[in-house]
């Protein structure tokens, strides 16, 4: 039975319309779990809304399973930086405090590892008051040791949650998925995405200015996106200055008819300059192939640098086309400037919704779930047979680089249910 549950999605209702689906509840394994009246019912801010709770038989918010005094909330941030992390922290702290009267909130320092090795920081509304205006994570994070996907997996698979359950602990575990690439398997839109696209557009704009100012200028902008090209796709659509956008979902090749170099030459001939946006994970197979042809006895750090697709393709362009045209290639990698900026207004609001959903769900006794709109189980990837990608192709006029085999495969994928971000509602 446990097994079958592992294969199901565990989602929870966000405040306004997200659906609750098979989310484990503390009462399932703790007997005689006392329930309390939800303090929100006395909150004057919610007094008008409150009336509706009853009508709608909204069990999530009717009762809570924790008393304000007994709650000790811990917040940990893991993985790479992402705009909005501090806003989520702020809203968790303020939401717990102002909505449910919870005053004991700890920040676990330095990511997942911080649970066993580091100090904790006491988080108060006063302490977090201004942190949403700063990038980064005030409680620190760590990469490697704790992969965001693994944690989501472990929550989903009840790695953490199961252990807690086995011991009968009254602990609610909630995840707010965070990935700047938008490639989280379980939700459709990750916080910080809007902000990242905005900043990525700035880099594209700079590359465009650069390319335009030189004869046969080629601006290459590498953007985040190891497994999915959402940032590259959206930034391309937003900027309107891109001539070619390469993403992991859409294979391409360099040489020969229909290849990238042919297209670059064509564009330079027509316009005298071009901008190429490339997601981190695009064309990795090309690099791998290529690596076999180079002497492998060299310094590991050299290999490492070659795996940077932006660097690699910039050098390839320089070398390959020198026979045909002389040109200038400018390479930009705004990754770290994007990761570190504070979230913009729309992400701030979105972070608040996510934080509040997490709080409401946990207070209502649910555990082992992640919050976010329209939860799905597959890794979130750009659907290249979708209209959004078609719109991009049409806006850049780039070839699809697809051969008939790819199209067939793509259509199969298309048959599966659609996602918010790859769809048309922004």
């Amino acid at each position: 039975m446990e097994n079958t549950e592992n294969n199901k999605t565990k989602s929870v209702a966000g405040e306004g319309g997200y659906m609750l689906e098979d989310v484990p509840h503390l009462s399932e394994y703790i007997s005689h779990l006392p329930a309390y009246v939800n303090p929100l019912q006395d909150n004057p801010s919610y007094s008008v809304v409150k009336q509706n709770f009853v009508n709608e038989d909204d069990s999530v918010t009717q009762k809570v399973y924790f008393e304000s005094d007994e709650v000790l909330a811990c917040i940990v941030t893991c993985g790479g930086l992402c705009p909005g992390t501090n806003t989520v922290i702020r809203e968790l702290v303020c939401g717990l405090h102002y909505l449910y009267g919870v005053s004991s909130v700890l920040g676990i320092e330095g990511g997942y590892r911080g649970f066993y090795s580091k100090n904790t920081i006491t988080l108060t509304p006063r302490f977090v008051d201004d942190i949403h205006k700063r990038g980064g994570s005030i409680i620190g994070t760590s990469q490697g040791g704790c992969d965001i996907l693994k944690i989501v997996d472990s929550i989903q698979d009840r790695g953490i949650n199961q252990e807690i359950r086995k011991r009968g602990l009254k602990v609610a575990v909630v995840g707010i998925p965070k990935t700047i690439d938008n490639d989280i398997p379980v939700i459709d839109k990750s916080f910080g995405f809007d902000t990242s696209v905005e900043e990525a557009q700035r880099a594209i704009n700079a590359a465009h200015v650069e390319a335009e100012s030189f004869e046969n200028g080629v601006g290459v902008v590498k953007l985040m996106g190891r497994y999915s090209g959402f940032i590259a796709m959206y930034a391309t659509l937003a900027s309107r200055d891109v001539d070619c956008c390469l993403i992991p979902e859409s294979p391409f090749y360099l040489e020969g008819p229909g290849g990238l170099f042919e297209y670059i030459r064509k564009r330079l001939k027509e316009n005298g300059h071009m901008v190429l946006v490339i997601a981190d994970g695009a064309g990795q197979e090309l690099i791998t192939e290529n690596m076999h042809t180079i002497d492998l006895q060299q310094d590991a750090s050299v290999n490492k640098s070659l795996e940077d697709i932006g660097l690699w393709i910039t050098q390839k362009i320089k070398v390959s086309s020198v026979l045909v045209l002389a040109f200038d290639v400018a390479k930009s990698d705004p990754t770290y400037m994007i990761r570190a900026i504070p979230s913009n207004a729309s992400d701030n609001i979105y972070c608040t919704l996510l934080a509040h959903s997490a709080i409401h769900g946990a207070m209502a006794g649910y555990t082992g779930f992640v919050v976010g709109p329209r939860i799905n189980e597959r890794r979130n990837r750009v659907v290249i047979t979708d209209r959004m990608w078609a719109r991009l192709l049409s806006s850049t006029n780039q070839p699809s680089f697809l051969d008939p085999k790819d199209v067939v495969e793509a259509k199969k994928e298309r048959a599966q249910p659609n996602q918010l971000l790859s769809g048309d509602n922004p």
Copy 2:
């Protein structure tokens, strides 16, 4: 029969999920209207997507009722400025050109009036290439003579459309609603809204810095919103620095228990400073009442300035509270800085979707419709019994300023169908 049609909504399917509903089609009044194969079917960018057109029996995009060569497209912009106007113009021009091969596009200068009194501008992809990076409208606009609501009404009521129909002209009329206040009756989210909220947040931030630096400092920020408080609400939620947000939908009063002044005094006592955000149209009835008490013989321009709620309330605060506390009041009105900025990345993408929807619909022979997500017929207003407003009240801790009568009324409103923006999906 005409009458019944007037009472119905005329919407059209956007590219990704918007619904077509009772939109008039040229073939309804032009007999033997020839149809052509949609050139998009040969567009390589849409080649993969194209396959789906057939499967989905997508009549909108299967056939077109205009040949590329015969099309003369006219673009006119009306009403106040709004971020994204130039992006919409750009995408109309580029979309017509690259998607449907339409090369005759004219811009009508100076708004609606330009149809009879002004020159036109030839719009080419090259001419509009960079305009999305500039604020304003490159073809000019005008206020007063042509009210956005009237145009939408006239399109909806077939004022324009009917006349065209009567004469049997092969003309498709499409509206892309624009209002920085988000108070358009027929759609849920207007373009430029995200950008406006972002910029409004900047003004709030400045007011917060100002207020914080002075003993009993009060920062007053007036934002756009004559009939609805969306920008004020969203900017407040995004900034987290606001102590009180006043909008037209939520009545309030100044003096006495539960009034605004009491709240201001309380906040100043607690924190030593506060920020007040007020939408343009909030408290207009208070001003009107007040005007009767002043001598009316004065200069009209003086009256005019009193109608500025930001100015009025700033002066009221200064005068009223001087007995209790000495304080500094700083008033900011960022209206013109917000209106004039270029649209941000997410609005750029949204503008593209709207422009493409308009083009696809018109080419497919539909007319007399407006584009936008989730079309509804009521004026779009903040629903103060909704959770988003509750969340705002909870985030600012301000009183609801509601008396029991208001609550009852609010609940009635609540019974009606919900809107996207006032709901929880951002």
Copy 3:
């Protein structure tokens, strides 16, 4: 003798070339004042520079008259907000700590009044580490009670300093002049000025977009500058979008030939739109005259609002020209957005120089002085016979609005020594 001293400038050498001139020294009234070796001589950062101290017989930095342990430094900020205030505070704290080992630094809360009525804040390098990224003043300020000019005067006139001297106290008093208007009588360039011009330019840009989008659109931007028009002049020169710039130094009139209205009409006829920048203090005499013609029995708050030149002139333009042309007037007042922003890079560096100069001077035993480049005794005003103003006139093509009498007067002024900002070296 005291009297003659009052009439002289008391300047002090900044680090790199400012001149020391008649600055009082503690040793003048405290006998047997012990001197110590300057700890900077052991500071490895200054070790190479240090060698030069000896060669140049640099008495300022050779000896200090305070031991690190005995110093209690107090920082107070007065008057309106200005970009860079927090940077100056930060650099005073860090400079005292890292350069001279001074660890007791107090912030006096709430401006000058804070000396007798408020708490103090202990300022450590850690506490001030990030404050230069925030606008405002972390220790608060107050207006009215303490006028920046009065303080500068009182320091200059030895109001404070004399009293200290009379009592034989070992206290060094240093002022770092702050005024966003750049109208400080004793120095040439105030910190925050560059930042203010940058932000003012943003507002002008918005007004330009607005004006350009409407037929006969007039954008009016009111900028700070009660006594001098530096911000207006520099923002006008930087933006290149302004058609007319009005400053307190250059009188103008509205009606008749050569008047403002004639010029506005001319410009609208030529270009179809225009941007008018007006400094706070420009045309005040016009308002005063005008006030006599209105009924004075009205509400004081009404009068107050009329004194706003931006508002007043906007209404005058609307009324006066309605006979000739219909137009739209958009008025923007970015004052509070400008005051509250953090300082830009060049101001950050300038604030550091000022703070370090203050520290070095005080540690060296000087007192009763202000720091800044090229100290002069007259109120700093735009010299309208100078080339910078000519350049502005030429860039806007506006008339000089001068009558022969003004020119004669202007030339007299010209005879006096020139200022940095009104000169050509930026």
Copy 4:
């Protein structure tokens, strides 16, 4: 005689105080050169200023040697992009037109090469009206073929000028030096510098956020500066977030006591994170040494990538310190984002001054000169024995990495005349 001239500086008076020094004049080699009344004398904007021309016997502006109608002005931009290039172009076009009535202005497309191979663009005030708001160069530029230093040299050495002279042509050649690194041999401050420092500070800020969020996080920011470290130095001073700044002028070493790695370990131990700013040209000799130790048979593109000091040092840090501490290194290279942005307000004004100086000088018959403040003949480099560098060392607390030999050498350099930027006047 030619030789002696080559060794002298050829400077020209800027409008406000720059000195004219041995600048060749057309009348020296064209006999009977007619002179005309300067049209500025009738320019109402300069009418007040004009009176002064006479008094000051200002020969530059009294007479001009070109009639408006006969002038054909050509503008060419060479070398890499730099903020402000378009502003200079704009002000040359507008200045020639509005100040001297010159209407024939051509832009040479694509840099120096454009003189023989490319088309020209007609530049009118209308065409250039908005270009100062865009980055890049609207007339294009080219690198390599034409080195800015070579051009300056050739103008100085009369390469171009001499040829013109030999043929007795009535052509005035003027250079406005441009280098984002501020390392121009003949002037003290290049346009675009302020803007570049501002943008560089943004990158440093992002690196700081990144570093702070990870345990032992090291942020590495590579900035422009192949021969001089001005941008690195000023951005470091402005941001206050940097722990170590490495520039070409100040040698350093990696291993051993007093080396970079020791300092990094120390800082990480103290603070848990650090930010390292490194100018392009810093430590090149270390890379060169290192290259000999690697197998040289590898792909040229690999070598190329190793020459990137930012990449190289990032990898060195990763490898070298792995024994002592585990840490995250984030590398940022904002070069192309800095080069491509529009100039800020203060640079806009500075560009205007430079453009006007060039125009006035050329119209007055001078030729073969460059414009700019305080012209000197040595390559402009950071003087590491100067107080500005000491201030940086003190602000970062980094070691000087100097050994006694370096100090002696540095002192010699110190003996030579000082520069504006390395001094204290910003």
